[in-house]
Amino acid sequence: MIWIYLIITLLGNAPPRVFDVPNDGGNALRVEWQLPPDSLGKVDSMLILRKTLPEGKVDTVAKAFTNHPEFVDEGVNYKKAYRYSILYFIGPVQIQSKWSSPAKPIASWIDTRKIPLFILMILYTTILLVYIFTARKGRELYLRPIAGLEAVDEAVGRATEMGRPIVYIPGLSTISDVATIAALNILAHITKKAGEYETKIIVPVRNPVVYTIAREVVKEAYYTIGRPDLFDPGQVYFATDSQFGYAAHVSALMAREKSATNFFMGMFWAESLILAETGASTGAIQVAGTDAVTQLPFFVVTCDYTLIGEELYAASAYLSKEPLLTASIKGQDQMKLLIMVAMILLSLLSVFGVNITLGLF
């Protein structure tokens, strides 16, 4: 009985300590409590009680266990203050600790964990802007040839010579995916090129939002080259939003229309091989571009040319030859160089036992 009395006294007099969780929107408080050393195994369970101020409403927020003397309450509001207490169950006895002093969660305006990322973003933006301003001054910038993009003219030309259409797939992802935006940028270039030769381009789309944008992109591209008459509302259409339904539709389209050229640009998943292999079996020239690392091998095997990862994003600049767009590619290369140097230096330091993560990991 003495030890129960001791525990009651010790627990009852020790209110939990409450701390704000940093770098959040003021929606979490960390509650810590200390158990007397000899109480381990004697306390069966605990309930964490929360009193909301100024109303004074008491809620049970969680059931805690003795070996985890810490709890993060994520159900709080930064506009209110809170007090916490622990209700201990020791056999048939219930003991409640004192209420903690009031604590108010702080809503942070800056997430300090993201500062290194922010600095990197500013650095990268600065590098890009420097190159863009350099290009504005008229300095010519060299871009290494990319086989897949050099082949675009050849691919469009082939379709023109054969009198067959071009099929353009802007990926299967949503417009939130940057790869889809890159694919739509490339679509504008290819439509212009196809329009100059009066070659038909068919764009079946999987996502409704992407469909509305792709339609406008194609329409505007024809306007830009002064051939609005070439735009056929039926050439860009919504096929289906089912992944394999779309794959089946596009496969049938390529087989029936006997397209001379197929472009697969953007984000793809398991359907990539179905699409590209069907296209290859029809004898079409195929150019693919994706940032989906898992789908790249399938495209490399089945397509004549493949834009790997970042080449997809560089395509628009490369095809347009616009100095401002080209400059951004140069900036990107410089950033890559910087990352490579940092990786080598940090790897070397790591070999010598100095581990610096720059707070990024």
Binding site: I110, N185, Y211, L273, D291, T302, E310, Y313, I339
Partner: protein, 204 residues
């Protein structure tokens, strides 16, 4: 002129605001993000309506083409049937809509997906043809990796370790290289769009 300038201004303002929002955990910033998401959902739902019209128009036009009419007739009939049973009798568990989905669409999708096995075999054949040094290296590596994940491979002393090394070192290194490039490319593309340098999404 305004038709092009207004979208560019909207993109610049929202692009900058949403970039800053990522670094601010405050509820004010989070509610701005939620508003943007709600707007996106609203726009997407309208886009669905437009997409359905596009689907019906596309297949209606193709009904006049003899080589496509059968397929388009099936697509339109299936669409109309699902609309009628969906709106008429609901889409919950046990309804005709749910039964059609589970017993027709799901097996059809699974069938298309399973075709991948055959496509993979033909793609693998093409990839592993020994045409040069690179193709030979690819063939050897693929052989080791495939062998390493089989039961027999596990009995050969060095094969599982070599497979593990191939996947964890050269394969992962090249993957990471691509991913770093992709990350930078994404930021670069986003920045070009926010600054209005890239305008091809507006048609050029």
């Amino acid at each position: 002129m305004l038709q092009r300038r207004i979208p560019l201004v909207i993109v610049f303002i929202t692009g900058v605001l949403m970039s800053i929002q990522y670094f601010i955990p405050h509820p004010v910033s989070q509610s701005a993000y939620n508003i943007a998401l709600t707007w996106f959902r609203g726009v997407a739902s309208m886009a669905y309506a437009i997409a359905v019209i596009s689907f019906v128009r596309h297949h209606s036009r193709r009904l006049k083409q003899p080589q496509n009419s059968f397929y388009s007739a099936v697509a339109l009939a299936a669409f109309l049937f699902m609309c009628i049973v969906g709106f008429g009798f609901g889409i919950g568990e046990g309804t005709i809509f749910a039964k059609m989905y589970l017993n027709v669409q799901v097996p059809l999708q699974a069938t298309t997906f399973s075709l991948l096995a055959f496509y993979m075999a033909s793609a693998a054949y093409r990839a592993f043809r020994v045409k040069g040094l690179e193709a030979t290296l690819l063939l050897i590596t693929a052989f080791i990796v495939m062998f390493g994940v089989t039961t027999i491979g596990n009995y050969i002393p060095f094969i599982p370790k070599l497979t593990e090394w191939l996947m964890a070192v050269p394969n992962l290194a090249s993957k990471r290289g691509i991913l770093i490039g992709v990350g930078l490319g994404m930021i670069s593309t986003s920045l070009k769009i926010i600054l209005g340098i890239e305008r091809n999404w507006l048609g050029g």
